[in-house]
Symmetry: C2
Amino acid sequence: MTEIPPRPTLEAVAARAGVSRATVSRVVNGGEGVRRPLVEKVRRAVEELGYVPNQAARSLVTRRHDAIAVVIAEPEVRVFADPFFGLQLRGISKELTARDCQLVLLLTEGRADHARVGRYLSGGHVDGALVFSLHLDDPLPELVRRAGMPTVFGGRPGWGEGTRSAVYVDSDNRGGAREAVRHLVGLGRRRIAHITGALDQTSAVDRLDGFRDVMVDVAPGLIAEGDFTPAGGERAMRLLLERHPDLDAVFAANDLTASGALRVLRAQGRRVPEDVAVVGFDDMLTVAEQTDPPLTTVRQDIEEMGRLMARLLLRHLDGRGGGPDGDGAPGVGGGPTSVVLPTTLVRRASA
Amino acid sequence: MTEIPPRPTLEAVAARAGVSRATVSRVVNGGEGVRRPLVEKVRRAVEELGYVPNQAARSLVTRRHDAIAVVIAEPEVRVFADPFFGLQLRGISKELTARDCQLVLLLTEGRADHARVGRYLSGGHVDGALVFSLHLDDPLPELVRRAGMPTVFGGRPGWGEGTRSAVYVDSDNRGGAREAVRHLVGLGRRRIAHITGALDQTSAVDRLDGFRDVMVDVAPGLIAEGDFTPAGGERAMRLLLERHPDLDAVFAANDLTASGALRVLRAQGRRVPEDVAVVGFDDMLTVAEQTDPPLTTVRQDIEEMGRLMARLLLRHLDGRGGGPDGDGAPGVGGGPTSVVLPTTLVRRASA
DNA sequence: CTGAAAGCGCTAACAA
DNA sequence: TTGTTAGCGCTTTCAG
């Protein structure tokens, strides 16, 4: 059995460099106010011993962790089949990395996990949280509020407790939807259908509202409920064609949904866009550029949303001394405030 | 300004319950060897004060963190456009959650980040690491070895230093590839082409080897290099059709690649599977079931791979007292050993 | 500019 | 069974 080589401590480095622990600490933390020759000596000792600070000890006194939690509610398989979260995570990760802050990922699989997440957030592991609050009745917003944890939400949270003052980053779902539908109208389409997303998510509701803003007197039969998946898009498209064989356009709540709809349209011999024009939402390149025909869609910069969330949270954290306190909502007291990013229509071949 | 309400400590709970800190600690950690009435009293005090243990303080003395790192090298955009990692993460998360262990996600964007990751792993944040070593020359294996961090790899790592004794979980890429190609042969196909994955990843190399095992004397022109993306599949497919217009089957290194190939085949008027049979790899449902025609493919249980990685690591961690020591490789000394999971051929319409 | 000393909140021997 | 006592490794006043 190999012996356990004990990690060198500050003490050891201090001894080796012939200085006090305090001096080593100063050097390790930037070296402000330490004379050059000493800095050199300490640096060398650190190097030789392979010293790495113990974060637990450091956090214990500083009450900082340089880590933030990303909480993703994952009630459905969809979450990871969809590149959406991956892109968002990527944006977050980039921003955090630049600040030497770690990303702790908390995936929750339904109610049972909420207690665990609550415990974790209150346990003093992280300085803040980024929460993707997928569902309208999600208890997560209330939970982070109680934990007193500075939090930024991804997407406008539902209308639960503690949501009112919540800080979030979202796309202009409603405005984007309006633009999509207006584009279809501009193309001369009149019988425009909508396949919604999962209606327990605000993004789906907002896009539906945007659709209605333009199609004020739409026949109820022209709206079919989907769930943001290709399969949902197929089902809804079939239903729509049954109810309104004369429809001439479809606005789908996201690109995945649109891809399902396209398949059904083709299978039923409708030409796109000649017979039926189709517009999606997201501009997820792996989907929108790969469909046949390529998809006209509403672009939202998903990675940028992630970056922005991280940036907002970090800025708030900077504005306060140390760890979590009672004032969990970064929106309160002149802190950061929610951001709604604009969307743009990307024209391809489907409309 | 709201006053910062200081978190209650063990001390506070002890005072309130009229016992010593030690007793509270015992109760909080399971309550072994504490008489009932006291347990009750302490529990009540904990409840009333809303006490939550400070993990930094705990880790400082126990040298456990109940957290493991998942390191994903992400040199390309591909990583998150591909549901692969999401599924794997999901499996890992499930297993860790069941053990009240947290998942710290480290995304690395190229060389610059390696130092950061190394520092993190040596910094005493986590008890072990799960590493996805995507590329043959990846420095990550050597890095975790030096950090003395118990590690399990996702996919057979390349042949760098410290890889020899590495523990990993992988699919039987070579065997799966053989099965795919034999299936095509069994269908009477003779001019079978292969679109490889990114050849700096062992999975791509292994699948190519499997292809060669069956097609011993294959014309070099029937092998085209891809990169696991649909776009790569398209490029490779076009090249193959140019070089060998008479090919009658294609084995693609993964489903995404196959989907690209299918598009090119259709665009060029080849019927699938009548003119050209196509087999993929992965059985990624969101891809394989959505292609036209649905894809015959080699199934690997990706989520299970993730679970298994986590299980292997946790088992190893259990077998040792506390934190990381010098013996980083779980494979050494009767610990867990690598696992290669079997694959199965899933027949759909494309071959 | 540097060192000495006092904890951060918790667990784990050891005593009682 | 319970309490007392030392620290875990680090930062941070406060003297010098």
